[in-house]
């Protein structure tokens, strides 16, 4: 639950509520983007961002190369699947 996973924001669902759709490994789900939005970075600007996703909340933006590397490492260890299963289970 503390590990988190990189995911990409693909769509803004509700800018006022800070809800967006994120995708990783073909799995999509709604996430909260409150923590990555500020005056310099409006909700609309988040589309395409790679973020560190923790229990459905984007904690921080990360660069695409780092996201790819983290996913590669987690993938080798079978941990991407575990996280994706968790993401899927309660929807």
């Amino acid at each position: 639950m503390c590990l988190g996973i990189p995911a990409q924001i693909v769509r803004i669902d509700d800018a006022e509520r800070m809800l967006a759709t994120a995708e990783v490994g073909g799995v999509r789900r709604q996430v909260n983007i409150m923590c990555i939005v500020d005056e310099q970075h409006a909700p609309e600007a988040c589309v395409g961002d790679w973020v560190l996703l923790h229990v459905g909340f984007a904690l921080s933006r990360i660069d695409a190369a780092e996201a790819a590397e983290t996913l590669r490492m987690l993938g080798e260890l079978g941990e991407v699947q575990a996280e994706l299963d968790a993401m899927g289970q309660s929807r």
Binding site: M1, L3, N32, M34, L52, L59, S60, G88, S90
Partner: protein, 369 residues
């Protein structure tokens, strides 16, 4: 160094290991240098990449109490079960929390016995369940350090905003700074330096750790989670020790700032206040180490809404989780490690989650040894 070939930049990893060995050899002391990783995520990374095996023997990694699932005492699980089995309640929580043993079994066992307990990925999913079941009481068993604290807070704020009356949280969130302070104050501890938690620090920043360097004169390096991050952070701690410095350094600056995440901190500040004390498995009670909801959010607090027995139960006598948490024992030195206590049948909490030192040790190190 059996895993080093798989690293993204193996030259860099090899160089770091060389530099670490060089510094380690320059220390003249009769005991190993002890570096504690505070965060369970680091414990996990250290084991799965076999990092410990790459380090010279003068360096000992001590796996700290940073797994929030592992440190929950049995009494809190029993309290949670008491809430879960009240009529009309749907209890929701993270998968990791389901297997933690209480004195009368785990949540998973209670679910098998008919309690309506549902695993969720996110607290926001618990709120969704509350919306879909207006005639039921939906309780989220919230736990974690500052990494998950904002997610619970933001979910409660959303419940408030939408006027959702059948949602509450059994709040077991804990806070990192008093915990580190308790470790630093314990008499039998000889930690030389710390790896600081990466994701907690995204939220709180590096400023709150300054007391570790200034007051306790210990180096602290906030670290990322990739193997190279951890190796580099160990090297940074050693360099401080070699140069006689004690500072808070930030290896994970690509996501961690000095001041933390303003939006998350605002949500935390708004919803929670410190508890005077909070009970930890293996460590006893630590002052101001837990949080509860402020008065204004009391109606979302399951401890106010339900009769919670508030039981205190000693850890099983055979458990040596406390000694492992403080670094006094290695996991495999516990009397019941791998026999009475395994990931399938955890006796102590450190065996429950993949971030717990014993489970990590069982899965990776015990096999390699």
């Amino acid at each position: 160094m059996k895993y080093i070939d798989e690293f993204r930049d193996r030259d860099k990893a090899a160089t770091l290991v060389r530099e670490i060995s060089k510094i380690a050899q320059s220390f003249r002391q009769d005991r190993p240098i002890q570096i504690m990783e505070v965060c369970g995520g680091h414990t996990h990374a250290i084991f799965r990449y076999g990092l410990e095996g790459m380090l010279p023997e003068q360096i000992e990694l001590v796996h700290g109490p940073g797994c929030p699932v592992c440190v929950l005492p049995m009494g809190r699980i029993d309290d949670c079960l008491a809430i879960a089995t009240q009529p009309g309640v749907i209890l929701t929580t993270f998968g990791d929390a389901m297997r933690v043993p209480g004195s009368r079994g785990s949540l998973l066992q209670a679910k098998a016995n008919g309690a309506d307990i549902r695993m969720v990925y996110s607290p926001s999913d618990a709120l969704t369940i509350a919306r879909a079941n207006p005639d039921r009481e939906v309780v989220f068993f919230g736990l974690g350090f500052e990494t998950t604290m904002p997610s619970t807070a933001l979910t409660v704020l959303e419940a408030e905003r939408d006027g959702i009356g059948n949602f509450s949280v059994f709040c077991n969130h804990i806070t990192i700074v008093p915990t580190i302070k308790a470790i630093l104050d314990s008499a039998d501890l000889r930690i030389d330096g710390f790896l600081g938690p990466g994701h907690v620090s995204i939220i709180i920043g590096t400023n709150p750790y300054e007391f570790i360097a200034q007051h306790y004169r210990k180096p602290m390096v906030v670290s990322g989670f990739e193997p190279l991050d951890v190796l580099q952070s160990i090297w940074m701690v050693l360099r401080q020790l070699a140069e006689g410095r004690a500072e808070v350094e930030n290896q994970y600056a690509r996501v961690v700032s000095a001041g933390g995440n303003a939006a998350a901190l605002r949500a935390i500040e708004r919803v929670y206040e410190l508890r005077e004390f909070f009970e930890w498995r293996g460590l006893g009670s630590i002052d101001y180490s837990g949080v509860r909801f402020r008065k204004a959010y009391e109606r979302f607090d399951a401890e106010c809404r339900f009769a919670v027995p508030n039981v205190q139960i000693a850890d099983p006598a055979a458990c040596q989780c406390g000694d492992v948490l403080k670094g006094a024992l290695k996991p495999h030195q516990c009397k019941v490690f791998g026999t009475a206590c395994t990931p399938e049948t955890p006796l102590g909490a450190l065996m429950v989650s993949s971030e717990g030192a014993c489970a990590a040790y069982f899965r990776y190190a015990a096999k390699a040894a």
